[in-house]
């Protein structure tokens, strides 16, 4: 993919195919940057993902702690309702959610792309599982020292939760960055596209311009690969945790 992005059009269309470009031809990148909104799309995607990750970290860790440690009326029912939502396919929710957003007037804005990503059942579940596994003694000690619930959470529990938070961040980044279906439905103005929708729209209109397409692909995928490489160890470790000890 990276190699193809540096080829010229004639090199790509040769048969039998060549795997190495004859030099670093950056035409694909240049045309792509000049003729499309890709910079805009990139910025949109970064914004949407940043909001998604931040909101997930805050809301899901709070809720996970609430469900794991705090006792309050309606806790069981609320948690059951959250778990039940996992089974509902997105395709079922798309139609009413679209109508809801249309009524709220946020269809075709970036808000439409990030609102469904503010929190997720998966995130709440992941954090709850993690907090359930933490020993209570530290929290009790903080309590005895006079910390309130919020204070205990922020200064004692959260620092311990760093590995789980990192995993949640990677997962959220991965899925919000790669989301295609929802922004495809919710956004039609091409200056508000995310990268995935932009790339997919590209494919329909510029089927033959492979070097540009691949350049776009490289731009869209590289940040994630870097993020993945950074978090790889933790990612694999937590896979066990979520999948098996759940």
């Amino acid at each position: 993919m990276v190699l193809t992005s540096f080829m010229t059009a004639s090199e790509i269309n040769r048969f039998p195919p060549k795997f190495l470009p004859s030099g670093l031809h950056v035409d694909g990148y240049v045309t792509l940057l000049a003729e499309s909104h890709i910079v805009r799309w990139f910025a949109n995607t970064v914004l949407v993902s940043a909001i998604a990750v931040t909101a997930h970290l805050i809301l899901c860790s709070l809720a996970g702690y609430g469900f794991a440690r705090l006792k309050f009326a309606g806790r069981g029912v609320a948690f059951l309702a959250i778990i039940a939502t996992v089974m509902i396919p997105i395709q079922l929710l798309m139609i009413p959610t679209y109508l809801m957003f249309a009524r709220a007037g946020i269809v075709d804005t970036l808000a439409a792309a990030f609102v469904p990503w503010l929190a997720s059942a998966f995130g709440i579940f992941l954090m709850r599982q993690f907090f359930l596994g933490l020993p209570v003694e530290l929290e009790e000690a903080a309590r005895l020292d006079g910390c309130g619930t919020l204070r205990t959470f922020v200064s004692v529990v959260l620092p311990l939760a760093r590995p789980a938070l990192a995993t949640l961040a990677v997962f959220t980044l991965l899925s919000s960055w790669n989301d295609l279906l929802w922004p495809l439905v919710a956004i039609s103005d091409d200056s508000r596209f995310t990268l995935q929708v932009g790339l997919a729209s590209f494919q329909g209109t510029r089927r033959t311009e492979w070097s540009q397409l691949m350049a776009g692909n490289v731009i869209a995928t590289m940040p994630l690969i870097v993020a993945f490489l950074v978090a790889q160890k933790r990612f694999i470790a937590t896979m066990t945790f979520t999948g098996l000890k759940g």
């Binding site: 809720a63 079922l92 609102v115």
Partner: protein, 314 residues
């Protein structure tokens, strides 16, 4: 004000203050609990349970989203059974699932066993397996349509070297679904492999050692110790991958858009077309509800079966 406020409880007799204090404490506990859990719960439930209920009402109407909805009762559901497009979509989804799930389990397990060895460059191989999983379906789809391009794609070049005739791949109605399945495997097998790898590392080494000391060969160790140990993971992976296969949308959108000649039109793609291309919201919602019902039945069925077999996953 503050003074009267502070002064009031003091004037009350002790007997009345005690139950009041307890009530106050439990109320405060509830407020704290909901302050923590409330916002996320509100978002998750508000964006799924509420729309899901609404979708049910939509599924009983004929509606294009603009004109007033007409109540048609169960007619949308009756129509599905006689709709050749819906039946074809269901068949394609079924074929895709039956090909994808067993293949991804077998491949994932194989890769995980291979990656669990102590060999050189293991980190590099692992990364290679997971990168496709990290890449988006849009990127995967574009790359795949390049590789499987009938004119200059690498796939045909590979066939040519093997002395086999060139194929049309995604442009042939007979092959497109199979090729989509292969691409989906390439993209998703990283997930299965990660889960199995994690599970393999969880198997106590003394178990394997004991068996080896007792004279079991590698195959027997795998067959009688590792495989049973992996069973709960397999159930989890099977459910997960079934849902993935049944809801595969992005990849179809970026490779074939349901074509050629509707040969890769799956249920989710059909719902998307109904609701957002031809604006038949009521009918689309009905098909979506049916998909939901099938997914749920399958999940419950697999969980029930695995519970009965004695492996606890959930």
């Amino acid at each position: 004000m503050a003074i009267t406020f502070a002064a009031t409880p003091r004037t009350r007799p002790d007997v009345a203050a005690r139950p009041r204090g307890r009530l106050g404490r439990s109320a405060r506990r509830n407020v704290t609990g909901w302050a923590f859990a409330g916002p996320a719960t509100l978002i998750v439930v508000g964006l799924s349970l509420f729309p899901a209920v609404w979708a049910f009402f939509i599924s009983r109407t004929k509606w294009n989203g603009i004109a007033p909805a007409v109540d048609v009762g169960w007619r949308n559901y009756q129509r599905i059974v006689q709709d050749p497009d819906a039946i074809a979509a269901a068949r394609h989804t079924l074929v895709l699932t039956l090909l994808f799930v067993p293949a991804s389990i077998l491949l994932g397990m194989l890769i995980a066993v291979a990656l669990n060895q102590r060999i050189r460059l293991i980190g590099f191989y692992r990364t290679c397996i997971f990168v496709p999983y990290v890449a988006s379906a849009a990127a995967t789809g574009i790359l795949a349509s390049f590789v499987f391009n009938p004119q200059f794609g690498a796939a045909n070049e590979a066939l040519r070297r093997l002395g086999l005739p060139a194929q049309q791949f995604l442009e042939s109605p007979g092959q497109a679904l199979l090729v989509v399945c292969v691409i989906a495997l390439w993209g998703e097998v990283g997930f299965t492999a990660v889960v199995y790898l994690a599970a393999l590392q969880d198997i106590p080494p003394d178990l394997v050692e004991a068996a080896t000391v007792d004279g079991a060969g590698r195959w027997r160790v795998f067959r009688h110790i590792i495989l049973p140990e992996l069973r709960p993971v397999t159930v989890f992976v099977a459910i997960w991958q079934t849902i993935t296969a049944m809801q595969l949308f992005d990849l179809i959108y970026t490779t074939t858009r349901g074509g050629p000649m509707n040969s890769t039109q799956t249920v989710v793609y059909y719902i998307y077309e109904l609701a957002f291309q031809t604006q038949r919201l009521g009918y689309g919602a009905a098909v979506a509800y049916l998909l939901f019902a099938v997914t749920m039945l399958l999940t419950v069925g697999v969980i029930w079966y695995s519970r009965r077999r004695g492996s606890e996953v959930f």
